[in-house]
Amino acid sequence: MTGSTVGAARPSAALARLRPLVAGRRGDILLVTVAFVVLPPLTHHAMPRLLKGSDSLVIAQGVAMAAAALSLNLLLGYTGQISLGHAGLLGVGAFTSGILTGHHGLPMWVGMPAGAAVAAGVAFILGIPSLRLRGLYLAMATLAFGYAMEQSVFRFPVLTGGSAGVPLPRRTIGHHLLLDNAQFLALSLLVLLGLWLLDVNVCRTKVGRAFQAIRQDEAVAQAFGVDVTRYKLLAFTLSGAFAGLAGALYGHGIGFVNSETFGFQLSLVLVIIVVVGGAGTRGAVVAAALFFELFPLFIKALHGWDAIVGAMVLMFTIARHPGGLAGMARERAEHRRAREARRRAEAAGEEIEDAGKLPSFAIPTQPPRAKGVLLETSGLSVRFGGLQALDGASIRVPSGGIVGLIGPNGAGKSTLFNAVSGHVRASAGTVQFLGEDVSALPAHERARRGLARSFQLIGLAKELSVRENFLLAQHQLAPYSAGAALGYTPSVARVEASLDERAREAIAALGFERFTDTPVRNLSHGQQRIVEIGCLLATGPELLMLDEPSAGMSPAAAESLAERLRDLPDKLGRTVLLIEHNLPLVLGVCDYLYVLHLGSVLAEGKPDAVVRDDAVVRAYLGEAV
């Protein structure tokens, strides 16, 4: 029996099969429906008085700019990678489409996707420097790229007809041209809608979360198993594809482009639009782009003052609200919500401040599988310039139990963590994890094998909510590809739903339901620490490495922490490697202790034996006089 006959026989079964396709897509479906209802009347055959042809063209330019702004927003707003040469990518899209349609007589349906593809390729190459360069340095590199594209590449006679430029006819089938500006506007809006939906899909899957994590802290992203290299290049490539499409739209709109169309100033305008609108906020960025392009259309009497005022607005917006207008609105809403929550809690007589007692970490997750020796380092050394931070340290962590790592400040404890987790490169020695030499693996690969770590300064994406952090933590548990994520296929929707369920269960287990949608930065330090450990547990790790978990906790909370830490091996079967300064805590919870001094292991053994060791006492308290 074939599938279709089953469907025909039982319509309810067919509906049931359709349901996952529709689930989580109501917003998309609504948008698409609205688009198809609104767009046709816009064409001036239907409503000749609504818009003049020339108005349609200006609006279409605005739409192209909005698409370009979405492209830069993906890079700058989500991933935190600046591009001051984005006009170069727009130009690649426009020239590619122009060469194919104008010179080779191919239809737009071929030219525009080709433009997107070539621009994506160029953006991939542009992304390679971003693997080593950050902030201002990346700004300089991308600026130089845009400048060289404008001054040189776009002027090559073989490629672009030199200074004469390239025509971009709106060729549809054979020699038929889509001449009508209103129809072209409808097409532009459809393209923008498509990009918008892709952008939505990026944001609601692991791809968007990986981008956000990279923007906030690359080390944290790696610790959660995010392959930073891959996702940075993916962000550049996607952004390039968006930019190529936007550039092609822009070019087909005006019908002709040359090197001056995609100059340095266009790149700057895009940065301004994204930053003033509010980097990272899709709607605000699109609105800012449309406003920026269409504003002069309505106020022609301004005679150039609009640009001056616009520049002043930019400077003062940034000076006062680095998050842009959208960030400003979000901050206000957050304050309001926080105030209300406090009022509600007070009314209910709940405790608002950190309670002395920590929640249980009984988060539903996979049980650990490995037995025997989990981690073994031998002769691990790390050198920073002239400083030998770690000098041949060898430790062993057997499964089930808590191994403590103590030592005076500067002993190399955190460096050992970093070398084990792959956040710094060891100059000598090996790291064996689960019987495998992982010394050559990058941090995200080690995380994927079940090596979870916390950070002294809280390893969470602080701008994201508690729930989003739990989703981010499960990055490695989402097996779908980036392509599937862009399409938000039913299987992706299923995975996301189960991740979300697990995140909510974990939050409930911590008793943090009221903070579900609170940005982590608004929690107290102690609460952040709890969420961090919760996130690590949610990954189902084989080994948990905790770097000073009690730092910044009240004495009562630290005492409660001891109990909770003991739960990890005793009740949850986890293995812990612990750095702590709080000696009573260490002595209370650890099964075995290593003392690090000047980068090497000074002593090891059962806790009560180690603290009586003369060498340890000397290292901590100095020589007896």
Partner: protein, 290 residues
């Protein structure tokens, strides 16, 4: 060959001035000033207004240009940079993009897109060196670059305030402890850099020939490459970088015809910037990062 070097040195010196402005702001505020060159361009319009429209001597025009640049630097530091305090440096850099667009908007509003001509400071063909005529304007340029470069170096190295400027970015607390006010350092670097921008614009204008909005974007790209080659934190490095970039551009421009490869100097700038950033981030003379 000799000819190319002479041409390269003349433009390289001006790139050096531009680079010093960028380096000063970077040292003082850890920010890259993307408006650096456009402030100079707007100042050129002031010079044009004074000399061409009001028929005053070139020097008066130059003074007007420098004064306008100083005012812009001062106001930007007071009204934008200072209120931003400890904001992420990238954000402050984007604010300078705002200043850049503001300069462009002002130029477009008050002077329009049509290019304008500025009289050269000194007319005449000049002296023949290695088969190239070095015009009086270019001699002036060389002289000014030397005087400004040496003067700035002496001022920064010998006065307490100057040392404070040099150390501000690395150790602000120490600077405050020796009695140098950081707010003054900040004002100084912004005003000095915009003034340097005006001076560089005045000097390069006879070579470019016209004033137009955004016409000196190439000067910014070359100046940035020079600053980077010099290590972004070294003042002498900025001058050396300027000469390196100037001579490299002249060489490539001489041996590769622009009809074959358009905008070949832009490619030199791209290679210089990417090369330094990726291969030797500390530049030629900058301190290697620890």
């Amino acid at each position: 060959m000799g000819r190319t070097v002479v041409v390269g040195i003349i433009s390289g010196g001006i790139y050096g001035l531009m680079a010093v402005g960028l380096v000063l702001v970077y040292k003082g505020s850890r920010v890259l000033n993307f408006a650096q060159v456009e402030v100079g361009t707007l100042s050129l319009y002031a010079a044009w207004e004074v000399t061409t429209a009001h028929h005053m001597p070139w020097l008066a025009g130059a003074a007007a240009a420098v004064a306008l640049a100083a005012v812009i630097g001062f106001l930007f530091e007071r009204l934008v940079v200072r209120p931003m305090g400890d904001a992420p440096r990238m954000t402050v850099a984007v604010a300078t993009v705002g200043l850049l667009t503001m300069m462009l908007a002002l130029e477009a509003r008050f002077f329009g897109p049509a290019p304008r001509l500025l009289r050269p400071p000194i007319a005449g063909l000049g002296v023949n060196i290695f088969g190239v005529f070095v015009s009086p304007s270019q001699w002036l340029s060389l002289g000014v670059v030397l005087v400004v470069g040496v003067g700035l170096a002496v001022f920064l190295r010998t006065t307490d305030f100057g040392l404070g400027v040099l150390a501000a970015a690395e150790d602000p607390t120490a600077v405050r402890l020796v009695g140098v006010r950081l707010s003054r350092v900040s004002t100084f670097v912004w005003v000095a850099s915009t003034v340097l921008s005006a001076v560089a614009a005045l000097l390069i204008e006879p070579t470019v020939g016209v004033i137009a909005p955004g016409a000196l974007a190439g000067l910014f790209a070359s100046g940035l490459a020079a600053a980077l080659v010099g290590g972004l934190t070294s003042l002498s490095g900025a001058f050396v970088g300027g000469l390196v970039v100037g001579v490299a551009e002249a060489m490539v421009g001489r041996y590769i015809h622009s009809a074959a490869v358009p905008g070949v100097t832009a490619l030199v700038v791209l290679v210089a910037i990417l090369g330094v950033l990726l291969v030797r981030p500390a530049g030629l003379l900058g301190k290697a990062p620890a």
